[in-house]
């Protein structure tokens, strides 16, 4: 194991996990729908309102699983300097993805993601494409469906996260502690339908989870 992986492991064990569980706090519902990281690959799809989302999702798994989880993030934001690239790749195992695609063929665009999935690793992807404001969910982009299409045997797990938009919203500097809620839906598999329809299906799943949360709040 190279030193980067050791650093990432220690980072999660001593900093991220205590921070997420003690300083912030998480309530998970549908925890048994979470994938078994060691056994197979999976694609975790979530709404995105805050940088906390990624740390939160990765902390839901055992620390020994962390090395097999890779968040997919915008190359133009996270990997625009060498220092940032080094930092995020080392500590989060980040896979950069180009947002301005032009005419790049999709095999090349998703090369790293496909490789990771072939190696039975898990990816986290936010199909909204960027962090949203408040707790609204923006329309999903179809990239996630293309990935699922290329890897039809890999389960897609829709997740709804509530709370990080209060902890650290877009553009905020201070972290304010609150307990976050995570809702995990049952996995779905690519069913051969057009990518736009499959994307809509995933988006609806996340919306359903959000409604479940709203219902719980209004009880």
């Amino acid at each position: 194991m190279d030193y980067k992986k050791i650093l990432r492991y220690l980072f999660f064990l001593f900093i991220v996990k205590p921070y997420i569980y003690l300083v912030l706090g998480v309530n998970v519902s549908g925890a048994n729908n979470l994938p078994k990281i060691k056994k197979s690959a999976s694609i975790i799809v979530a709404n995105h309102n805050s940088h906390v989302d990624t740390l939160l999702l990765m902390s839901l798994f055992a620390t020994s699983d962390i090395l097999k989880i890779h968040p997919v993030a915008a190359a133009d934001y996270f990997c625009n300097t060498k220092l940032k690239t080094f930092f995020f790749k080392t500590f989060l195992g980040l896979i950069p993805l180009k947002r301005k695609i032009g005419k790049t063929p999709k095999e090349e665009l998703f090369k790293e993601i496909n490789e990771a999935l072939k190696n039975k690793e898990t990816i986290i992807i936010y199909p909204e494409g960027t962090r949203g404001n408040d707790d609204t969910i923006k329309a999903f982009k179809t990239g996630v469906s293309h990935i699922a299409q290329m890897n039809p045997e890999v389960p897609v797990i829709p997740v709804y996260i509530n709370g990080p938009d209060r902890i650290l919203p877009k553009g905020a500097f201070f972290w304010v502690p609150f307990i976050a809620d995570v809702y995990v839906s049952e996995p779905v598999y690519y069913d051969g339908s057009p990518t736009k329809i499959f994307t809509k299906l995933i988006e609806d799943k996340v919306q359903t989870l959000k409604e479940e949360h709203k219902k719980r709040e209004e009880l």
Partner: protein, 315 residues
């Protein structure tokens, strides 16, 4: 100051917990009743007791850090159950900051400042800060929620620190730790006795709209049981007279109940069952400490009223 009385009382507490474990296991085996939840609760309870014992017996700094930690967790749970206005985010940081400040004031025994720090200074500062954010929609509601959160989870829990710094000479039997032992065990025991008698004898609901499990039988059983325990235990670890202990038993049992029901009412208002899932079988830490929020300040002020407490400022 750890006296022999306190040591024996602590041993007795652990024996009592393990006895309860044994009884639960016995009932499970013999009557085949499904009380799995009871076992998880007891295990969590044992864990909590261990945390409290270690933190309070080790030294003053660990004790205060521990109080700060539970106060922080309670406040966070409280803030997480309410809808937050985006413009108030930074004000919540001020509220969190009041925990270390408040505890430090108690630590250096500047008691008069502690009395007014949250009820007066934070009251003024939070209002001022919230006015500056300029958002009037839901202003009073959010202001009130924040003040109530501070009063109940920071001010009330800091009284544990205040009991900790009571000069040992006042209670020759077991010192300040004995008083802390008395209030903590009595509050928890009151919850337990009320739940237990309520489950066995409970028929007439007391406040069905807030807490359907609370019955008159449980409440009265709690008052009687807690008063007896208060006299027996208080006689051993505190210097209070039997009459005072009887009075305290009744008052603490009643207001332990009301503390519990108040948090239930707040949860019902915001439509949640537990404040979080921190402690297995119990829900959040606020669910567990709810009765202490009322009993700790009440006990301290009763003790301060019946004794001449002389606090000398300094570490």
């Amino acid at each position: 100051m750890i006296t022999d009385n306190l040591k024996n009382a602590l041993i007795l507490l652990y024996v009592a917990i393990f006895l309860l474990f044994g009884i639960t296991k016995f009932i499970q085996k013999v009557f085949k009743k499904d009380i799995e939840n009871m076992c998880i609760r007891l295990k969590s309870f044992l864990g909590i007791t261990l945390f409290f014992t270690v933190a309070f017996l080790f030294n003053k700094i660990t004790a205060f850090c521990f109080i700060g930690l539970i106060s922080y967790l309670c406040l966070k749970e409280f803030f997480s159950i309410i809808p937050v206005r985006r413009t108030d985010r930074n004000i919540y940081l001020w509220a969190y900051l009041s925990i270390p400040v408040s505890l430090y004031i108690v630590y250096i025994k500047w008691i008069n400042l502690f009395y007014i720090f949250i009820p007066l200074y934070m009251f003024i500062w939070i209002s001022t800060r919230m006015v500056l954010s300029g958002n009037t929609k839901g202003f009073l509601k959010n202001l009130a929620v924040m003040q109530y959160g501070l009063m109940s989870t920071v001010y009330a829990l800091c009284y544990l620190g205040l009991i900790y710094v009571i000069p040992n000479e006042n209670n020759p039997k077991a010192g300040a730790l004995g008083l802390l032992y008395y209030i903590l065990v009595l509050t928890v025991a009151n919850d337990f006795i009320q739940m237990f008698t309520g489950k066995i004898l409970g028929k007439h609901k007391i406040i069905p709209s807030i807490s359907p499990n609370k019955t008159w039988e449980g409440f009265i059983g709690g008052v009687i049981g807690t008063t007896i325990l208060s006299v027996l235990m208080g006689n051993y670890v505190t210097d209070l007279s039997i009459g005072q202990l009887t009075f305290l038993g009744i008052i603490l049992a009643a207001f332990g109940f009301f503390g519990d029901v108040t948090v239930s009412a707040i949860k019902r208002d915001f439509g949640i069952k537990d404040t979080s899932t921190l402690i297995p079988g119990h829900g959040g830490i606020l669910d567990r400490l709810d009765s202490l929020l009322f009993t700790a300040p009440l006990f301290f002020h009763f003790y301060a009223y019946t004794h001449t407490l002389i606090f000398t400022r300094g570490i």
